[in-house]
Symmetry: C2
Subunit: 337 residues, 2 copies
DNA sequence: CTGATCTGCTAATTCGTATTACCTGGGATC
DNA sequence: GATCCCAGGTAATACGAATTAGCAGATCAG
């Protein structure tokens, strides 16, 4: 049987109220506890090792000092670890600084190979608010979270289910980063540049193409829908492209490798820019030019934003962080120059 | 303002009791709800999106379906990630299967560079029970957890603070694994074998030496207390050692590298056996003979053990899992043969 | 000497849910 | 006609801590 304040009260010959007052160090005008009584209570607490039940506490108060973390895939298996890790590192660090615990919603049942926030025995309310992570977050879940007024922040994604719902998020500014790099390529003398990637679907893809287009309005765009890489490379060369922008570092590496296979040099004959980190392990250790997504910082900021929301502040609910530009070795003036 | 059962009750024109009964699907003789009433209540619940407050629930019940995870270092920074990750992967997997959420105690204040379980505002009771992970778990904290009767399981460590306290743990059987490998070396014809490592202090170290001694009672033991590696190598060669057992894969690699530096071949001139995984990144991709610690499985088993404890079963509180032997390429008959 | 103020506490209530005990009206049984 | 039973609920209470209201007794002002 576990100890309650009532037990402590009995042992210290005071009321449960007094125990609570001592514990919470209340010295209001309405409740003055003389040192002698206070010490007596504290002594009993020390001797028994009593700790307050945090759950009973929060029934009363508004905050619980727990932040939920909902991931749409398992966190720890190494397959998704590379993706989630940097975010979680920042989240953990920030939570530690703020004295918050993190609740991983591993109990969410998996349907169709994905976890769902909303299910029969929804446990979101265990936490004061939650952080949502995942490559693909279903729009209807976001919408419901917003309409139910549940405090949450989406990390890394910035898709809005519809115009009416304002989804709080911390994202990365792909537009600026891509634009800056495209401009840099222009500055180095590249006349024909190309963007290889879907450029639509996820906002992260759309944003990169947008940034590219801001500078290279008429640059080539190739959406490699299951097209073999050699095919893509053929088209690039046929159109005299000297600098190519790729959404993923792993894809960038594959493309560069293919180019080298044809006797081309990188960046001499073809500059390759990686617009983001590798989504899967890459064997080569080439230092690709491009940018890194500030994942750890995004995690940190997300905790900050959620805390602000919880404490009633309403700062800018949608935050974009600058990407870290990487000079690297694969972006240089074209050979002809 | 969030919805309560009282609100649902009002809307459905029933009592709060009835709402609770419907929600929990109680069809006992003591409470029979006709389909009509039940449907009316369920309709309101659906329309409002009401979900029960899990905290208020557990105030009443015994279980909360939350397992605490206490780590003595941060989990996600890549420095400790390699260590914690496999454990956590198993824990997460098992928690998911059992419908449990995981609470990371990131709020525990850091003193002397380490987290502490026990501090002023101890929050262990948020969870039904907890898993303890860490390279170095202070004995006094273990002792206190035991005396306070808090349900927990220590993962990977099996140190007992004193004989009276029975610490529940899931560990790895280093003794058997080391003994098996030593026997294998003997079988291959090695006459002089050596064990390089502290062999005391942590039980994991002591256990390995113990397993080694079971087979090679008079084998050489070198405790490399800050001794330069070349020194250790000198001694091995001077004593005609042909097979050496090293506690850590990283150390094994360093030693093998040093041997090769002197023109020796591995395993031709010297067999090297790694008694465990690398505790720090190792550049080489040599496939060392030795064993792996079954970290993921240990995580899984720990959840199982904790669940058993929580449900009142008292199985064997201390469990040892077999290590995975690795044939590898660094253990072979000595050259002379 | 009377009322006001202060000290040092405690009884009662609250949070949201689950459970237990009981209530009511009608039909069946004796 | 009295008793019992049963369906269909509800009122009351418990869980553990926090808070609000308030109660004795001492002290002080006037």
């Amino acid at each position: 049987m576990r100890l309650t304040q009532r037990d402590i009260a009995r042992l210290a010959r005071v009321s449960q109220t007094t125990v609570s007052l001592v514990l919470n160090n209340r010295a209001d005008a309405s409740a003055r506890i003389p040192a002698e009584t206070r010490d007596r209570v504290l002594k009993v607490i020390r001797e028994t090792g009593y700790v307050a039940d945090p759950l009973a506490r929060r029934l009363q108060q508004q905050r619980n000092q727990i932040l939920g973390v909902f991931t749409y895939e398992s966190v720890f298996p190494s397959a998704s670890a590379d993706f989630y890790h940097p975010f979680l590192s920042g989240i953990e660090e920030s939570a530690e600084e703020r004295g918050l615990d993190l609740l991983l919603f591993t109990s969410a049942p998996v349907t169709d190979g994905r976890r769902r926030v909303f299910h029969a025995n929804n446990r979101l309310r265990l936490a004061d608010g939650s952080l949502l992570l995942g490559r693909h977050i279903p729009a209807e879940e976001l919408a419901r979270l917003v309409t139910e007024n549940y405090p949450f922040v989406s990390v890394g994604r910035r898709d809005n289910p519809d115009s009416s719902a304002l989804v709080p998020y911390v994202g990365a500014d792909y537009v600026s980063a891509t634009a800056t790099l495209t401009e840099r390529a222009r500055g180095l003398g590249h006349q024909q540049v190309a963007f290889v990637g879907p450029g639509e679907g996820a906002e992260s893809s759309a944003d990169r193409l947008l940034g590219f287009r801001q500078i290279a309005a008429r640059g080539l765009h190739i959406a490699p829908t299951d097209r073999p890489l050699t095919d893509v490379l053929d088209e690039l060369l046929a159109k005299d492209v000297t600098a190519v922008f790729v959404e993923d570092l792993a894809d960038a590496d594959a493309l560069a490798e293919a180019a080298r296979g044809r006797g081309l040099t990188v960046p001499g004959d073809l500059s390759v820019v990686a617009l983001g980190d590798a989504s899967r392990p890459v064997p080569s250790d080439v230092d690709y030019s491009g940018f890194h997504i500030p994942r750890k910082e995004m995690g940190r900021q997300a905790v900050g934003l959620l805390e602000a929301i919880l404490s009633g502040d309403t700062p800018d609910l949608q935050q974009l962080l600058p990407c870290e530009l990487v000079d690297g070795s694969t972006l240089a003036p074209p050979k002809g120059l």
